[in-house]
């Protein structure tokens, strides 16, 4: 989830364009806010959750906590993407159960590499989420 539309479509374009590897053929579902995520998350299995930290209303940390408490998603890889430069917030996100962290701005290769890294240990099944 991410409140900036351009970032969302940028990420979608990258992920849907990955030609091979665990990410190939993945489906991306966008959430525009924390609430949006709350609506979506309980409804389906997701192989990976990607979220910003600084968002209006519900922040990324709260999302992480919510995701981790949910029985569906307590083990789902969760990657933070954010311009958030505070190390304290990064530390906190990881402490809350985020799997990895990626700083904006990033190039497509970094995003893909990070996601592949967190996805592979989980058995390597192609994600649908």
């Amino acid at each position: 989830m991410e409140d900036s539309a351009s970032t969302r479509s940028f990420i979608r374009a990258i992920l849907e364009g990955v030609p091979e590897g665990v990410l190939a053929g993945c489906t991306v579902q966008e959430a525009t806010s924390g609430f949006d995520a709350m609506r979506l998350l309980p409804r389906g299995p997701y192989d990976l959750v990607l979220t910003d930290i600084n968002m209006p209303d519900i922040n990324g940390l709260e999302v992480i906590q919510f995701v981790r408490k949910s029985p569906h998603h307590k083990d789902t890889p969760l990657v933070i993407i954010s311009t958030q430069t505070s190390e304290r917030d990064i530390a906190r996100a990881l402490a809350l159960g985020a799997t990895a962290y990626l700083r904006k701005p990033f190039v497509p290769e970094e995003l893909v590499a990070t996601l592949e890294r967190v996805l592979v240990p989980k058995g390597g099944a192609a994600p649908h989420g």
Partner: protein, 738 residues
């Protein structure tokens, strides 16, 4: 330097210095921004403070790695202070700001001490450390700490740093804290929340929205909303006006019980943190400030324990990568020089390729092959040009790098002098060759100091002259063609040409006779003469180190020119005109007396056929009217030859050179072509020869000298002493084979 780890490889050390200097520069820049935000009454900008904090934190880590103990110790203390500032534990006073500025200066000195350039400022560091400690101890006693409130670790653990800061600020300001609980249907949550926000905003600030529950309910969500408000619970309830929303006050903990909340659930960990918490403090083990505890536990400074307790520990043991993703590299400029040289060699290859292609094309039998080769040559040439501009681009840095440092100097000097100075900078984004930037900082520093020291008057004097108390020193940069122009302007007392003349005569720099022929502008320019100083007792600042003559020499070395305009009581403006880069120049090649020379295109206006009939003599110098303006003319054949060659009958050409506002016509025998060349220094044997900026290889095994136009103009136009063009320093003959 006992603390320098000598086994650190040179390359790593260089990178350390370069990164450390960047961090220190950034620190200084942010401080200025901070000061501005404080002075404008907005209070310190939290983000800037945070940036400073992070910079110092990184510096601490770096210097730790390199065994630079002083640097690391200072950073550690600073970090604590900055942490207190950024989390609002202590206010940002002018005194604190001064300490931070001192720290920037000290950082610079420590770094140069580490390089072995100067002695370590040990005493100053100790003084600063003591002052830092004193400030930290001043922390206000009645600070409200979040941990004193009955908030679950689960709530506190998901606050972003900013939210936590807002929460703390509100509590410190004495506001009450409320928890709003409600169940929202997911389908309509957005509009329902908007409505709630509208109702709450007039009476309080929403800190955060925390979803509770485990997502088991697919249709609704439980939210906990933290609100800080000055109002009583009843008023808030009235504002919310909904039975579905439960409003309860978050009470302070009963201090007779345990003073800290249990450690957050998420802080379970098996070993030391994988992530260094930015405040450098250890994540607390579950604290126990119970009366029964042994005394050493309760000796922990309570606020720290509280603060740290709200931070969940980093999760260890997980496969986490905190690798920072950076997209810039730092490159030693000498490497770029080597690349540039290699590029120069490639240009030679290109020249040879062209010659062979032409040769092949001229023979009927190989004409086709020649044409093909010419095609290859063109592609090669295009790529070369692209590479060249690419490398040049990398060398360019914004002037702002130097300007920021100057802003600190202005601040310091005006304080010392008890003058009020407004420093206005424009054009900091103008880019110029990295090497030039480095050479510029001393001259600019001196010019700025001069402007404040000699230019800007003390407040009473300004008042008497009807000027505003605050003087202005303006630094302005912009690009003009292939040059960058930097102006330093002040609205001070100006330079009195008569006083300058008098002084110059007294010092024996100018004869009484010559003095009479000076125009007022020329007189002002005398401040650039070697040995000239406008004050008998130099002040601590401008009197030290370099004078205006050095400024001029330094700028000239960079291929630049200095101009000065001053008006008594109005102010002084000094203009530096500099080439954008030193590495490569577009030149016009031409022939004088069978020798090829190069004229930088950046210094020339045009080249036309020379009409000797238009030349006339004025005061023993040749001039002509060119495009309606009187243009001094110099015949390069006479300048470069000894004895002067007899005048030719054949057609000659006139190149009109221009630097800043000064123009000079140069008569040459023949024009060849325009091309880009890599400038090479003349080397030790010829380095002292004035009039030439360097030499270059034209690609056909011919070496050509590149004219140093600013110094030529200088030589030929120096009006005062009517120095003849056949000055000894220029009377060096560069024939073939020299």
């Amino acid at each position: 330097m006992a603390e320098r780890r000598d086994d650190a490889p040179d390359k790593a050390r260089e990178e350390f210095f370069s990164e450390a200097s960047e961090l220190v520069d950034g620190f200084g820049r942010h401080l200025l921004a901070l000061e501005e935000s404080v002075e404008s009454g907005h209070g310190p900008d939290p983000e800037t403070l945070n940036d400073i904090f992070r910079g110092v934190h990184t510096l601490k880590g770096l210097s730790g790695l390199f065994g630079a103990a002083t640097l690391s110790g200072l950073s550690h203390e600073l970090e604590n202070l900055l942490d207190d500032l950024r989390l609002g534990r202590i206010p940002l006073s002018t005194a604190v700001l001064d300490l931070l500025f001192d720290a920037v200066e000290l950082y610079g000195r420590i770094l140069s001490a580490l390089k072995g350039e100067q002695a370590e400022p040990r005493e100053e560091v100790l003084t600063l450390l003591a002052s830092l400690a004193a400030v930290s101890n001043e922390r206000s006693g009645n600070v409200a700490f979040i941990a004193e409130y009955e908030l679950a670790p689960e709530t506190l653990g998901v606050l972003t740093e900013y939210e936590e800061h807002r929460l703390r600020s509100n509590l410190q300001a004495g506001l009450a804290l409320y928890r709003l609980k409600a169940k929202f249907p997911l389908a309509t949550i957005d509009s329902a929340l908007e409505e709630l926000k509208l109702r709450v905003r007039p009476v309080g600030e929403i800190i955060t929205y925390l979803p509770t529950g485990d997502g088991g309910d697919l249709d609704a969500i439980d939210l906990e909303i933290l609100v800080a408000s000055r109002s009583a619970a009843a008023e808030l309830r009235q504002a919310v006006d909904s039975d579905a929303v439960l409003v309860e006050e978050v009470k302070k903990r009963d201090l007779s019980q345990a003073r800290t909340p249990p450690a957050p659930r998420v802080s379970e960990r098996t070993d030391d943190s994988a992530i260094d918490l930015p405040d450098g403090r250890e994540t607390p083990s579950p604290p126990a400030a119970d009366e029964d505890e042994p005394p050493h536990v309760s000796m922990h400074p309570a606020p720290q324990v509280h603060e740290a307790a709200v931070m969940p520990a980093a999760a260890a043991g997980r496969d986490i990568s905190l690798r920072s993703v950076t997209q810039t590299v730092r490159v030693d400029i000498r490497k770029l020089d080597r690349l540039m040289n290699a590029l120069g060699e490639l240009s030679l290859v290109r020249g040879a390729l062209l010659r062979y292609a032409e040769k092949l094309r001229s023979e009927p039998a190989t004409r086709r092959l020649g044409m093909d080769l010419l095609g290859v040559h063109r592609a090669f040439e295009r790529q070369l040009a692209q590479m060249q501009s690419g490398i040049l681009e990398v060398r360019m840095v914004p002037l702002g790098q130097v300007f920021d440092k100057l802003a600190r100097i202005v601040r310091q000097v005006s304080r010392e002098q008890n003058k009020s100075v407004h420093f206005v900078v424009t054009g900091g984004e103008t880019e110029i060759d990295k090497l030039i930037v480095e050479e510029l900082s001393d001259p600019l520093l001196h010019m700025i100091r001069n402007a404040i020291d000699h230019g800007i008057e003390p407040i009473p004097e300004r008042a008497a002259a009807g000027k505003p108390d605050t003087g202005t020193v303006a630094l302005n940069a912009y690009q003009q063609g292939n040059h960058v122009v930097i102006e330093v302007e002040d609205d001070g007392r100006g330079i009195d040409p008569h006083a300058v003349l008098h002084k110059a005569v007294t010092m024996g720099l100018v004869s009484m006779e010559d003095a009479k022929s000076f125009s007022l502008e020329e007189a002002v320019s005398l401040v650039f003469m070697q040995g000239f100083s406008t004050r008998d007792t130099a002040t601590a600042m401008s009197g030290r180190g370099i004078g205006m003559d050095i400024v001029k020499t330094r700028i000239a070395k960079l291929g630049g020119l200095v101009d000065i305009v001053s008006e008594v009581q109005i102010g002084t403006k000094i203009t530096l005109t500099l080439p954008v880069t030193l590495a490569i120049v577009g030149v016009l090649t031409f022939v004088v007396e069978a020798t090829v020379y190069c004229m930088p295109l950046s210094s020339m206006e045009e080249a036309v056929v020379f009409d000797a009939a238009l030349v006339r003599e004025v005061d023993g110098r040749e001039v002509m009217t060119h495009r309606g303006v009187t243009l001094p003319v110099v015949r390069l054949a006479r300048l470069f030859s000894e004895p002067p060659a007899p005048q030719r009958a054949t057609k000659q050409f006139l190149i009109v050179a221009r630097v800043g506002t000064r123009r000079l016509g140069m008569v040459v025998d023949r024009l060849i072509e325009q091309q880009d060349v890599v400038i090479k220094a003349l080397g030790r044997t010829l380095g002292h020869v004035r009039g030439f900026a360097g030499a270059t290889d034209l690609g056909d095994q011919r070496v050509a000298l590149i004219l140093d136009v600013p110094s030529l103009i200088e030589e030929c136009l120096t009006a005062a002493e009517g120095r003849r063009a056949n000055d000894a320093s220029l009377a060096f003959r560069f024939g073939e084979g020299s």
